[in-house]
């Protein structure tokens, strides 16, 4: 009797699946994922000021028609200090920048701004990292390029390097 090869299909599918499982068990996940929020509006949030003298940040602030950066940072984050000169350079080039301070204290934020300069128009204090989680951001620093309508266009994980600055300015220009 002719054997029906189609009957082996479930077995073959299972073998493929288990191959992938085995691979995944042997190679641990490093959790770097591409944001699902690209081309989506910012999640709704309303953060209080992170320190005296700088306004807080809410999602509706981000839809004022001007493309901008939202920088997720923290005073306790060393790479964020390394990133400060690049943010200053972007600021000098006329790019509006808002900040979200993660798990931070007002005094520490003030000290951070004193030492590294303040490129931010507004800084929201995200004590619980809830906005950070909602944004799918996995660490600090991270920077989001937001178009004038409050839509996230790009996510930069890690520090912005000096070489990145012209490209960022160009992409924000293109969104206007």
């Amino acid at each position: 009797m002719k054997r029906r090869w189609i009957l082996f299909a479930p077995l073959a599918i299972m073998a493929l699946l288990f191959g992938a499982f085995l691979y995944r068990l042997s190679v641990p996940d490093d959790r770097l994922i591409e944001s699902q929020w690209i081309d989506k509006p910012m999640p709704l949030f309303d953060l209080p000021p992170a320190t005296a003298g700088v306004a807080g940040l809410k999602s509706s602030d981000l839809a004022d028609g001007r493309p901008r950066l939202v920088n997720v940072f923290a005073s306790w984050c060393i790479p964020c200090r390394a990133e400060a000169p690049q943010l200053e350079a972007l600021k000098a080039a006329g790019v509006p920048i808002d900040g979200i301070a993660i798990r931070d204290r007002p005094d520490d934020v003030a000290a951070f701004l004193r030492e590294n300069g303040n490129p931010f128009d507004r800084i929201g204090s995200d004590v619980q990292s809830s906005v950070q989680i909602a944004l799918g951001s996995s660490g600090v620093p991270e920077t989001f390029l937001i178009d004038g309508k409050g839509i996230i266009r790009e996510q930069i994980q890690g520090v912005i390097l000096a070489d990145d600055v012209p490209g960022i300015i160009a992409r924000l220009e293109a969104m206007k």
Binding site: R4, L7, P10, L11, M14, F18, A20, Y23, L32, G56
Partner: protein
């Protein structure tokens, strides 16, 4: 002593599983026939002993015996009693013991009550069930012993994840597990039938109540889990396409497909190989689901035990079981003769389409859940979000619902469609009314929610059609079950579609005394106050929601803080407040306090949603489960037996 006794019972139960398996093999290979007599009692005893071990584990949690590692890690003497009990299965080892208990008890029930199967098929089935148990016994005893003692007992335990401290969650995992593991019986029936080559209506009829029973529990478990996530996580969503939700949905889909194909096999002796394959797939998907949750392969809010070593153990187990069953299927199913033929326009035809759609949805959900793993194996990083699932599963589910309209109105074998055409216009009229009503007055609505509400109206009317012009008292229970379950699908679909089409959301920072408007409600933020619970502190807000008609209702959303025990960090949870109205639910979440810069009163983040018809989703789920239960009662013929008994009694009374 309790812990040692529990462990001893587990070893004896494992030995009994071993005995059933060996005796089964001996009999099926033509050994001495009297060995067959061992299999049934051994299966029953194995179930009883495992259940006793599980009861002892619960006793340890109730007594807060901190010398047992599992209790010390997962319980606390100050915890309310309900959560102490639930703590027994709210962790990896305990839930695996629960899994084994259900596996053993189902085997025992089959051994006690199954009378319709041929003797050798029953032996093969019980041996297969024992083989399943044996692997999980090995897993439990060698790599996750729940009864392990600590060398030095700590003064108190480390509590339980506060997110899991909810009455709903106490019953959610057992319900889901009964569903998952109940499918193991169908798996064993399929293996047994493949071994003895007895695949036909008798096998299908024997398997049917088991499939139905576990599917009811899966339905209840998924519905309850969705409601739990909805009010406990405080995110306002009722389905997140989270990997752990998906792996519970996949066995449900397999169960739904199996339920319909087994009907064809039982009634018409067709689709035999397909039914057997689905029976194998159903429990395989349960195991894959457990594996994914237990191994931390895909992380999510639900995974409380992440351990690659255990993952490898489970992977090997599944490889043996699923691989073995599918290999057996591949070699034996070709020997299964073609079933009875049927026309496309017939009950069978519609059920085949139903099965194709259900398995396609199953494959797509599984693909989306596992794709990140597969993609990573090929060097790419991807996460699959709700847009994918809504886009691929949504339209297919709608088509499935339309098939559901036709199926019950068609006759077996061949149909001229006359009944269908005669009863369809009313349903189509209902659909058209809803469609045009929404287009004219509904404002801008997405295409999927719009079609969802339309199809829901068609299904709701059409699902009642099988009752049309029939004496309701004479309609058999399984038919009632089908009608109610299909109607439940319409109700749930309407809820989902209406919620996503008309949801209103407000996020504000408000100080006590201020009012917020959401949808038709005026919500006054009356005050906030600290509250102390049994093992947490909370900030509780009082909101007064007023409807346009002037009646007002009080809501108390709260943010709870559980102290970090043994130096851990404190954990916060949001207790959403829900106001259920006939038209939907008002959902309020109290967020973080916002310190004011100028010294005025503190403001709080308030998130308010108006979710139209949202509770229909869970009402629909409950109706589906209720329909399933009626069908099960009908199939198990309890009622028939009861009626027969009553008739006999009545006869005796009138006997001269």
């Amino acid at each position: 002593m309790i812990a040692e006794l529990g462990l001893a019972l587990l070893w004896i139960a494992a030995a009994l599983a071993c005995l059933s398996l060996i005796a089964g093999i001996v009999v099926l290979r033509g050994g001495p026939k009297d060995v067959a007599g061992l299999v049934r009692p051994a299966s029953v005893a194995q179930g009883v002993l495992t259940a006793a071990a599980f009861a002892l584990l619960i006793a340890l949690f109730v007594r807060s015996d901190m010398s047992v590692e599992l209790v010390a890690r997962n319980s606390h003497s100050l915890k309310p009693m309900l959560f102490k009990v639930a703590g027994a299965w709210g962790n990896h080892e305990g839930s695996m013991l629960l899994w084994l208990t259900i596996l053993g008890l189902s085997g025992g029930l089959v051994a006690l009550f199954e009378k319709r199967l041929r003797a050798d098929t029953l032996i093969a089935t019980l041996a297969a069930q024992a083989a399943l148990s044996l692997g999980f016994f090995a897993f439990l005893l060698f790599s996750s012993n729940p009864f392990k003692r600590l060398p030095i007992a700590p003064p108190d335990g480390q509590g339980l994840n506060p997110l899991l401290q909810d009455p709903g969650l106490a019953f959610h995992p057992p319900t889901l597990y009964i569903g998952y593991v109940g499918l193991s019986v169908a798996f064993s029936f399929a293996v047994g039938a493949l071994v003895t080559r007895e695949i036909g209506p008798a096998f299908a009829r024997a398997m049917r109540p088991w499939v139905l029973g576990s599917w009811i529990f899966l339905t209840l478990g998924i519905t309850a889990g969705s409601y739990w996530a909805y009010y406990e996580l405080g995110w306002g969503g009722w389905w997140f396409w989270d990997p752990v939700e998906n792996v519970s949905l996949v066995p449900w889909l397999a169960g739904a497909a199996l339920l319909h194909s087994v009907a064809v096999t039982a009634t018409r002796n067709a689709l035999r190989a397909w039914t057997v394959m689905l029976a194998v797939i159903g429990f395989s998907m349960s195991m894959v689901g457990t594996f994914i949750v237990r191994s931390g392969l895909l992380t999510s809010v639900h995974s409380f035990a992440v351990d690659p070593e255990r993952g490898t153990f489970l992977l090997v187990l599944m490889l043996v079981y699923i691989g073995g069953a599918l290999t057996l299927f591949a070699f034996r199913a070709s020997a299964v003769a073609e079933g009875k033929q049927f026309a496309l326009l017939s009950r069978e035809g519609s059920l085949v389409i139903n099965n194709l759609l259900l398995t396609t949805i199953l494959a797509l959900v599984l693909l989306g859940t596992l794709y990140p793993i597969v993609a990573e194996a090929m060097g790419e990083k991807i996460s699959v979000g709700p847009p994918y699932y809504n886009k691929v599963a949504g339209p297919l589910a709608l088509i499935l619902c339309l098939v559901m309209v036709a199926g019950p109105l068609l006759r077996w074998r061949r149909d001229d469609g006359r009944t269908l055409w005669a009863r369809l216009p009313l349903a189509l009229l209902a659909g058209a009314t809803v469609l045009f009503g929404l287009i004219l007055f509904g404002g801008p609505i997405g295409i999927l929610p719009l079609l969802g509400m339309t199809v829901a109206a068609v299904v709701a009317v059409a699902s009642l059609a099988p009752l049309w012009k029939r004496k309701l008292r004479r309609v058999p229970l399984p038919t009632w079950g089908m009608v109610i379950a299909h109607f439940g699908v319409a109700v749930a679909l309407a809820g989902m579609a209406a919620e996503s089409a008309f949801i209103k959301e407000r996020l504000v920072a408000a100080a006590p005394g201020e009012t917020v408007k959401v949808a038709d409600f005026t919500v006054k933020f009356a005050r906030v106050e600290p509250v102390a619970g049994p093992n947490y502190t909370a900030v509780r807000a009082t909101l007064v929601a007023t409807t346009p008609s002037g009646s007002s209702f009080i809501l108390h959303p709260a943010a709870r803080t559980f102290p970090g025990l043994m130096g851990g960090a404190p954990t916060e949870t949001n207790e959403a407040a829900l106001l259920t109205r006939p038209g939907g639910q008002l959902y309020a979440v109290l967020g973080q306090p916002v310190p004011s810069a100028d010294g005025s009163a503190d403001r709080y983040q308030l998130r308010l949603w108006w979710k139209p018809l949202v509770w229909w989703i869970w009402l629909g789920g409950a109706l589906i489960a209720m329909g399933g239960t009626l069908a099960l009662l009908g199939r198990a013929q309890l009622l028939a037996i009861w009626r027969a008994r009553r008739a006999r009694k009545a006869q005796m009374r009138f006997a001269p």
